[in-house]
């Protein structure tokens, strides 16, 4: 396998796959390196109903279609790899993965996306799959007639709280502030559901149980009072954090650890572009990721072509 590419795309979500499609369609030799399964956050969406031109599709199907489209145009994809080192400062960029394979390229597109934010309280890791879940669609039916907590105060948290009332006998929404960040519609629907009640200005500080989750300790942020609540399950929807830990000190990040980009989605490093949920922006949708992937791919292709022209004329 030739290990030099025109462009290496790091990340195989909506932005990365779109970049792969655009690059390979334009005969730019491209490689997508992806740390998890291809599709990124898109795969976590049970149903996408507002993707233009596609009336209804699961996130998985859309991701699979994008992957197949990229492969058809000649893009190479390596998924489930771990990137162990990045050397992006020089003209030729170098990316090393866990099996020690080294890939080089003239340009790089970073599309590492985001991941679900965790609470970070003791016990959280122990009860993943035995009481703690980050996916209502996947695990809701394990909590038939049981009492559960939903953590969060945004659109997702309130929407999922309502959806979980199909199964649970009681849903308690625990939110750290005295007001919700969700749109009025979601607040109203959740507020009118008699199975849902709210504990505001509070946080879970510990998850307790043996084989499975049995109770949680909740701290009131205003009074400092700690109470213990017996519970069968906790669903956590407190937003996403960008996957940029490995980029700290390499490219410019803002205070939210999002990648700082210019209008062409070039980062602080020449020849390094970024796209999707890991960049600084307000709206994170599949459609915005796809748009970012397109812009970054066109920018990277132009960058590579100019670099090659300069070599010829030099």
């Amino acid at each position: 396998m030739d290990t030099h590419f025109d462009v290496i795309v790091i990340g195989g979500g909506a932005a990365g796959l779109t970049a792969g499609i655009y690059l390979s369609r334009a005969k730019v030799k491209a490689l997508i390196l992806n740390e998890g399964a291809v599709g990124g956050q898109m795969v976590l969406t049970h149903e996408i109903a507002n993707y233009p031109g596609v009336e209804n599709i699961s996130g998985y199907e859309l991701a699979r279609n994008m992957k197949s489209q990229a492969l058809k145009f000649g893009c190479e994809i390596r998924s489930n790899v771990k990137i162990t080192s990045l050397d992006l400062g020089d003209e030729i960029k170098e990316v090393t993965i866990n099996n020690k394979d080294v890939f080089t390229s003239n340009a790089v597109i970073i599309a590492t996306g985001g991941k679900s934010r965790t609470i970070g309280a003791p016990g959280e890791n122990n009860f993943k799959g035995t009481g703690i879940s980050y996916c209502a669609t996947c695990d809701g039916d394990f909590f038939q007639d049981k009492e559960i907590i939903v953590v969060g105060g945004g659109n997702s948290a309130l929407e999922e709280a309502v959806s979980l009332t199909k199964y649970a006998s009681k849903v308690t929404v625990v939110h750290q502030f005295d007001h919700f960040q969700a749109l009025e519609h979601y607040i109203e629907v959740a507020g009118n559901n008699e199975k849902i009640n709210f504990i505001m200005e509070s946080e879970i500080i510990e998850f307790i149980g043996e084989e499975k989750l049995a109770s949680v300790k909740i701290k009131n942020m205003s009074t400092g009072k700690i109470s213990q609540m017996n519970i069968d399950g906790v669903f956590i929807f407190i937003g996403y954090v960008p996957n940029t830990e490995s980029l700290e000190g390499i490219i410019e990040l803002n205070k939210n650890k999002e990648i700082v980009v210019d209008k062409d989605l070039m980062t602080s490093l020449n020849g390094v572009f970024a796209a999707g949920d890991s960049i600084q922006k307000k709206y994170r949708q599949v459609t915005t990721a796809v748009a970012d992937g397109t812009i970054a791919a066109l920018g990277a292709a132009e960058f590579v072509n100019n670099q090659k022209k300069n070599l010829v004329t030099a």
Partner: protein
């Protein structure tokens, strides 16, 4: 049937035959959902690396999947997929919810030879 490239276990009988004819077996019992798909993808990729292991899936909602759903090892599970690792028909490990490729590899290396 699950849309994966893995061997599909469609019945209790097939489950039993699979365990009888393979020393090391990993079965992922799930749906085509967000927590399950990454596990299937990892298994599809690992299939080429672990020749001594049979990788299979089973649809969680099929009645015959009770052979996995009702296992004592899965009694506390409340997250899809349920993944069960068998050696000589005996369960050596079971996990609930999404697992990364690294987590799966760690289990395969601990219990099965490559």
């Amino acid at each position: 049937m699950l849309k994966t490239n893995l061997t599909h276990v469609l019945s209790e009988k097939e489950h039993s035959e699979l365990l009888n004819s393979n020393e090391n077996v990993m079965i992922c019992c799930g749906r085509m959902g967000p927590m399950c798909i990454p596990v299937y993808e990892s298994m599809e990729e690992l299939e080429g690396e672990y020749n001594g292991v049979k990788f299979a899936d089973m649809e969680f909602d099929s009645p015959d999947a009770k052979v996995i759903r009702n296992l004592p090892e899965c009694s506390s599970f409340a997250g899809l997929p349920f993944v069960v690792y068998y050696k000589n028909r005996k369960i050596v490990k079971a996990t609930s919810s999404i697992q990364s490729r690294d987590q799966i590899t760690e289990i395969l290396d601990a219990y099965f030879a490559k």
